[in-house]
Structures are given as structure tokens and as C-alpha cells.
């Protein structure tokens, strides 16, 4: 009788461990409106190039939604325990002789530890770094 009880307890414990998920805070959706920049005297193609580069530096890739729309999106690959947990969009739009660009981000917290706002700041900084690099003329040493 005692052995039967022991087995029942072990069986129940095994099923409980396998089926019941660990108690943790529910994943919350965090969405942030990042900065908006207005850049003068630059073609929108420069914005597209920087948007792609910035998103790729954070997510490892980026895609334009449609052809020549200036709407760029990227997301992380997730893992076996989670699907996509971070995603971001960069929108370029021509204005006058320059363009306006916006950054928008979304994250699932947890498992992601950084906020969507922090992610947008990171992408925006990468965007700035790229545009600065594009504006800096390449130095060359030439001789006659």
C-alpha cells in the first residue's frame, strides 16, 4: 500500500513538473515611438541606405516593405522558447531637399530585458553613425 502511494506521488510529481509552467511575470508588449529626425540636403536614398544599415547592425538583416517605399522593418529570429521578441521599423520620407525619418520599436518584456525605447535609441545611433560615415569624404592619397 505504501509502495503504491509512493509511486502515485512520483507519477503525479513528474506530470506536475512537466506540465505546469514555472511562475513568472506575464510577457508584456512594449512599444516605443523613437526619435524623428529631419535631415536637409540629403536624398531619401541616403536615408534608405542608413535605415537598412542601422537595422542590420541590430537585427542582422532588414527588409523594405514593397519597392522603394522607404519603409524598413526588421525583427530578431527568436529561439526555441520564444518566437519573435523584438521588432523595429524605420520610415524614410522625402521632404523638400532632404528627408524625415522615424524609428518605432516593439519588444516582448520578458524575455527581452531592454525596453523598446532603448532599442530605438540604439537603432537611431546606428543610423546617425551611418549617415555621418556617408557624409565624410573618403580620404585618398594620390601622387602624380
Amino acid at each position: 500500500m505504501k509502495t503504491l502511494r509512493h509511486r502515485t506521488v512520483l507519477l503525479a510529481a513528474g506530470l506536475l513538473v512537466a506540465v505546469v509552467p514555472p511562475l513568472e511575470a506575464p510577457a508584456a508588449l512594449d512599444m516605443a515611438l523613437g526619435t524623428r529626425k529631419v535631415v536637409e540636403n540629403q536624398p531619401v536614398s541616403a536615408c534608405n541606405q542608413a535605415a537598412r544599415s542601422a537595422l542590420t547592425s541590430v537585427f542582422g538583416g532588414a527588409q523594405e516593405l514593397g519597392s522603394d517605399t522607404g519603409e524598413w522593418q526588421a525583427y530578431n529570429a527568436g529561439d526555441t522558447a520564444n518566437g519573435v521578441t523584438e521588432s523595429a521599423a524605420v520610415h524614410c520620407y522625402p521632404v523638400g531637399n532632404g528627408y524625415v525619418v522615424t524609428f518605432t520599436c516593439a519588444a516582448q518584456v520578458p524575455p527581452v530585458t531592454e525596453t523598446a525605447a532603448a532599442m530605438c535609441t540604439k537603432i537611431s545611433a546606428a543610423f546617425d553613425a551611418k549617415t555621418t560615415a556617408m557624409q565624410t569624404p573618403a580620404t585618398s592619397e594620390g601622387g602624380r
Binding site: 503504491l4 502511494r5 509512493h6 509511486r7 502515485t8 506521488v9 512520483l10 507519477l11 503525479a12 510529481a13 513528474g14 506530470l15 506536475l16 513538473v17 512537466a18 506540465v19 509552467p21 511575470a25 506575464p26 510577457a27 508584456a28 508588449l29 512594449d30 512599444m31 515611438l33 524623428r36 516593405l65 514593397g66 517605399t69 519603409e71 522593418q73 525583427y75 527568436g78 522558447a81 520564444n82 518566437g83 519573435v84 521578441t85 523584438e86 521588432s87 523595429a88 521599423a89 520610415h91 520620407y93 521632404v95 523638400g96 524625415v100 522615424t102 518605432t104 516593439a106 519588444a107 516582448q108
Partner: protein
């Protein structure tokens, strides 16, 4: 040794049969833009706030006069936000441009980001509106000595140190942490706890007798 094998077998069985949980995922929609040849940034902002609030409560502007509007919706099922929509307005020399971005957490949110953004955009500039599925409602926790369930805290009449916490999903845990299950059919109760015990619930929902146990509910 046998015990360990039994535990591992149960663990594997439980994982195989019930472990296929859908992965939670962020769904982002960012592909809708509207360019108006007329109107001001203020016009865009007014329409943005109204369009978002048709679907999500309490749209706020990130900074006064920025034209950036955002709202999130709490999911009562999880107690955390699972949907968000944004409209970003920018004034042009003539008219304005509005960008629509939405994100949801799947599968807990009952609709996708594209469906949400399409409705917000159509509300903004006109177009067919498709009703979005309602957010799930939280399951109310029963209170009192209901005769339709055993939810609550129970104490053994023979041994006051032995208590049981019976949960909403038919689960139970005793004061030593040993778990089991309960099921009720009319007044007939089956308690799975060191084997199956057939018991009877009293008409006031306060007492359980039979199968070698006698329990009283705190209510």
C-alpha cells in the same frame, strides 16, 4: 531506482502530451502610409487620436505638438499589454503625411497587427472597417461555498494540520505540497489524492465526506 524511472517517465509523458505550447511572438505592422495634400499637422493629430481610440483606449501624444500618437491595450487574460497602435503625423509644406504602425503579442492577442493597423488607417482616411475580436475576459475566481466547484481552502476534520488548497482548474495541493485533482458531478466528488476517493459534497457546499476523508471548507 524504480521511483526515479517512474518520475522520469511521467516527466517525459507530460512533456510530450502537453508541452506543445504556442510560442509567444511580437507581430509588427509598419506598411501603411497616408499622404494628404491638404490639412495641417493639427488636423492629422486630431484624426490620429480619434482613429486610434476607436480601437484602443487612451491615445496620448508623445510630446505636445509632436504629432506622434500611441495607445496600448491591456489584455485582461494575461494582465499585461498585448496590443499597441501608433500614428505618426508630420506636417508638409502642403498637407501632411501619416504613418501607421501597430504591434501585438501573439497568440494572446485575439487579432493581428495588420488587422489592427488596417482598421485604424481606414478609420483615419476612410475605408472598410472589419470588427476586431474582443479581448479575452478574465475568469472570475469563485468565492464562497459554491456547490458547483470545490475551489477554496479545506481542512481535514480528523487532522486539522492536514489542509488542502483546491484550485480553479481542478487541481489541489495539500499542506505538505502533495498535489492531486478534484472533479465534481452534482454532489458526487472524485478526489484523486493517493488514489481515487469518491466523496459527497454537502448541500451547503461546506463539507466533503467519504472515501476515508472528511473535510470542511473555509468560507
Amino acid at each position: 531506482m524504480r521511483g526515479h524511472r517512474l518520475f522520469v517517465a511521467a516527466l517525459l509523458l507530460g512533456t510530450l502530451c502537453c508541452g506543445a505550447v504556442a510560442l509567444a511572438s511580437v507581430d509588427l505592422s509598419a506598411g501603411i502610409r497616408y499622404v494628404s495634400p491638404s490639412g495641417t499637422l493639427a488636423d492629422c493629430s486630431a484624426k490620429a487620436k480619434a482613429a486610434i481610440e476607436a480601437y484602443l483606449p487612451g491615445a496620448t501624444e508623445s510630446e505636445s505638438g509632436s504629432g506622434d500618437w500611441l495607445a496600448t491595450a491591456q489584455n485582461p487574460g494575461t494582465g499585461a499589454p498585448s496590443a499597441a497602435a501608433a500614428v505618426r503625423c508630420y506636417g508638409l509644406p502642403k498637407g501632411y503625411v501619416a504613418t501607421f504602425i501597430c504591434s501585438v503579442q501573439l497568440p494572446v492577442n485575439p487579432y493581428g497587427a495588420s488587422a489592427l493597423c488596417l482598421d485604424v488607417a481606414h478609420k483615419f482616411y476612410g475605408g472598410a472597417l472589419t470588427p476586431l475580436a474582443a479581448m479575452p475576459t478574465p475568469t472570475p475566481v469563485p468565492s464562497g461555498c459554491a456547490t458547483t466547484n470545490l475551489v477554496g481552502n479545506w481542512t481535514s476534520d480528523d487532522n486539522p494540520k492536514l489542509t488542502f488548497k483546491m484550485g480553479l482548474n481542478g487541481d489541489l495541493t495539500d499542506s505538505d505540497g502533495v498535489s492531486g485533482n478534484w472533479n465534481i458531478d452534482g454532489s458526487k466528488v472524485t478526489l484523486t489524492y493517493y488514489g481515487n476517493h469518491t466523496m459527497t459534497l454537502s448541500p451547503d457546499g461546506k463539507h466533503l465526506h467519504g472515501g476515508g476523508y472528511s473535510l470542511t471548507r473555509q468560507c
